[in-house]
Structure formats: C-alpha cells, structure tokens
Amino acid sequence: MNTWHSIRQSPMTALGIALLTLLVFLTLFGPWIVPNDPLTVQMSERLQPPSWQYPFGTDHLGRCLFSRLVEGAQITLGLAAVVIVTVAVIGIPVGLLSGYVGGRLDTILMRIVDGAGALPEFVVAISVAGFLGPNLTNLLLSIVAIKWMGYARVVRSIVLSEREKEYVLAARVAGGSAWTVMRRHLIPQILSPVFVLAALDIGKIIMLIAMFSFLGLGAQPPTPEWGAMLNDGRPYFQTVPELMIYPGMAILLVVISCNLIADGLRDRLDVRSR
C-alpha cells in the first residue's frame, strides 16, 4: 500500500493527517519558532494590526498573538493527549474485567458506569472542576471523570461478544489463564475500536478544554490556552474581532483534523463496513 494510493483513496483523511502533522510540529518546535515571548506585556503595543514583528497582531495587553497561539497548541494538544491516555488506561481494564469476569463484578462496575453516565456530562465536569477549584489539573480530572465510562462500555461490549466465540473457548480449554486469554486474543480485538473512539474523542476533548477555559474553570491567565484566549478577546469582539477569530480558527482546525483522521481510521479499521 503506497502513500499516493492511500491519499487518492481518502483525500480528506490525508488532509487531516497533514494538518495535524503541522500542528504537532508547531507543538514540538513552538518555543524556537515564535517571534516574541508569549507572556510579555507591553501596554504601548496593545491591539496592534499584523506586522513583520507581530504576524497576527497583538492582544489587549500588547502580547504577540501568533506566539500565544503557537504556545497554546502545546498546551491544548498536550492536555488532550494526557486525557486520552488516562481515560484509556482506566477504561480498558475496567471494560476487560467487567466483560471477561462477568457475574457480580460486572454488575457492580456497570451500575457505577450507568449511574455516573445518567448524569449530564457537562454538569458533572463543571461541578468537579468547580468543587476542586479552577486550574488545569482539576480540569483534566473532571474530563477523565466523564470520559472513561464510554471506553469501559465499548471494551466490555466487544469482550462480551468475543468471549463466547469458539477461538476464545478453545484458548481457555488450551489452558490459558484469564490474563493469557485477554492478552493474546481479546486485547488485540479491542485495540482498533478503542483507537477509533479515541480519535473521535480527541476533538471533543479539545473543545471541552477550550470551553472550560473560556468559562474560567480551566487554564488561568496569563496561560495562552486557546479557550482562555477566546475569553480574553471577548470584550473587544466589536472592535478587534481577530482576538477571537484566531484562537477560534485554531480550535476549529485541530478538531476538524482529528475528526477527519478518525473517520479515515474507522473506515480502515472497521472490518464490518468494508
């Protein structure tokens, strides 16, 4: 399978991958390419239009908007990655145990998932973040608290359908311990659906992070998080809309590229839709 062929087959996925690669590049090398320090306040330079010195202009405190956006990419993508990994690390084992062991353990775990899942996600997240206090760590905790259940549920449902298939029964008869059967047969089966789910979720998680920061529950000033920047620009929307348009576009681009990649992954990995 060569690259050109895959691009021709799904140009949108290729576009998503290209966008995300660019963003990851910005994330990794941001500190070396930004023209100005993203935190330096210069009241004399406030609300400047784009120039060679300030490619996107400056904000209400005279900080370089471009530098802040690049710095923000690091924060946003980094946070989203941490959330996804944490969520998978909690959700996959819970789903595996629940589905494979079954019985009372399954009942207890699934009641917890159902009970917690019955509450509206945003209300839970807002109350967790509000209760623990507004900062990024607590924001992560609150997003993990509402997201892990989906993974546990997906993993459990796959395990439930696979564990009755003859190859899993054969593996048990062959003397495999529960761990061996899970490692050799079940975990490979759940990886690709979890991958697709994670790719789809990354967009939502980035939106959540931005939304909470916008509401003042996440990143605190002067951190250049995109949602927080949206909030910073809000009072100037009538006169200098760029302050909100640039961070908004940044969020849009990341979310779109993640969703495009997720769609491509789903088509590629999902055997049923082939």
Binding site: K165, E166, Y167, L169, A170, A171, R172, V173, A174, G175, G176, S177, T180, R184, H185, P188, Q189
Partner: protein, 269 residues
Amino acid sequence: MKDTKESMESSPLLTVNRLSKTYSTAKGAPVQALQDVSFHIRKGECLGLVGESGSGKSTLSRLLLSLERPDSGEMYVHGVPLNGLTGKALRETRKQVQVVFQDPHAALNQRLPIWRSVLEPLDNYPDVTPPFLADVRPNRRETAAKLLEMVGLLPEHLDRYPHELSGGQKQRVAIARGISLRPDLLICDEPTSCLDVSLQAQMLRLLKRLQRQLGLSYLFISHDIVSIRMMSDRILVMQEGRIVDQFPSDQILSEERHLYTKQLTAAVR
C-alpha cells in the same frame, strides 16, 4: 495382565454421574438442557453421542470442558472430580481433556498465524512433552511443523493465516491443536458438520488414525448417525436433555433399541 485390565474397567477414564443443567431464559420457562445424565468412557474407547440439535449435546461438552458449571451431578476424570475446580487445579485437568469444535472458522483466531494457534496449548504448559513430540519439543516451530504433519498439513502452512486455508485445512489445524498435549480425552463436538460431505469421511479417517496412533479416547458428538456409527465403540442417544438409549455400536439395528434410536436410523436406511 488380567488384573490391569480389570482395574482399568473399574476406574474409567471419565465418569459422569447424574449431571443436570438448567438455563434460565429472559422470559418464559427455564430450559432443562441436561437432566440426570450419567455415563462413562473407558480408556482408548470412542463413545458416540447422537441427538438432534437442542438435545443437550453441546451443553454436555461445555460442562466437561469446564467452560460452564453444572447445577448438580458429578464428573470425574481418572477418579478426580472436575466440579468446582479453579485456577491451578483446573489448569491441571485441562491438560487431560481437549476439544475440537464444530466450526473451524470460528475456532481459530484470525489474527494469529497457524503455527501460533497450533502451539497455544503447548505454550501454556511448558512442562508437558508428549512422547510423539519428544525430539522436536525444544524448538517451537519444529514442534508446530510436526503437529501439522501429523494431521496431513505441510510446513508451508505454518505461516499462513486462517483466511488463507480451506475449511478442511482449518479443521485439521484445530485437530492438531486438540491432540498437541496428548490428552486422555478428546471431545469432538460435531467436528465434521461444517465441512463438505466429500471432506467428512477424510476427517473421520484422520481422527480414527490419530486415536489408534496416540491411544486417545474420544467423546464423539454428532447429529449424524452414520459418522457416529463409523467412529464409535458405544453409542449414547440423547433426546431433550436425557440419555434415552445406550448400546454397543454393532447393536444399532437391534430390535431392542429405543423408539427414538429407531427413528434416527430409519432416516438414513
């Protein structure tokens, strides 16, 4: 000599005593899958189990394989009870009871190459070395090649994936896996019913040859009375979870047979 033969007969390989299993359904009455089933299998014997679908044959094999637990009754392998075993003790008895399932396509993990599937039991029991594998056991791939050779496959099949094999070849792989630990009892749960008619006889001959070569005992489950008769020394007939008839296979046409047995044989005569 006479003594050993007698002691063998007094403690059969497998004894099943008044085994019962009921499944509760979501709505409606619970289903009695097995009711008071008792029988035994002697060493080196092939016991045929015939009955139509829903008669409890597969439930019986799942209980014997410890994939499910009976509601009541006992099972003994070499006099050791199978009931309620867990962990290490369960793994010990599983060495002695292996299986060949009905659907060879479902019985192999599609993501694993053939040699990994064949070696699965031996990988789980590093301490087991069956006599027929003694010379190749240290080398995993040679062991797998030898097992494939025993069921009539070639070394080139080692690295294939299940979807590259035909149904008959996959069933041979499943048989190779079933015999790899040299179990005392191999449960063949309708091993031919998913195969073409032309392949069925081949597969039965293979099973028969392996039984003689390795001195295995079989519980041969089928709904096809012809293959049961060809394979078995004795035959059990099951209907609606009960054993209704039990006889040596050469007396299958005797006048004393149960009405249901007569119906089964009449269908093919």
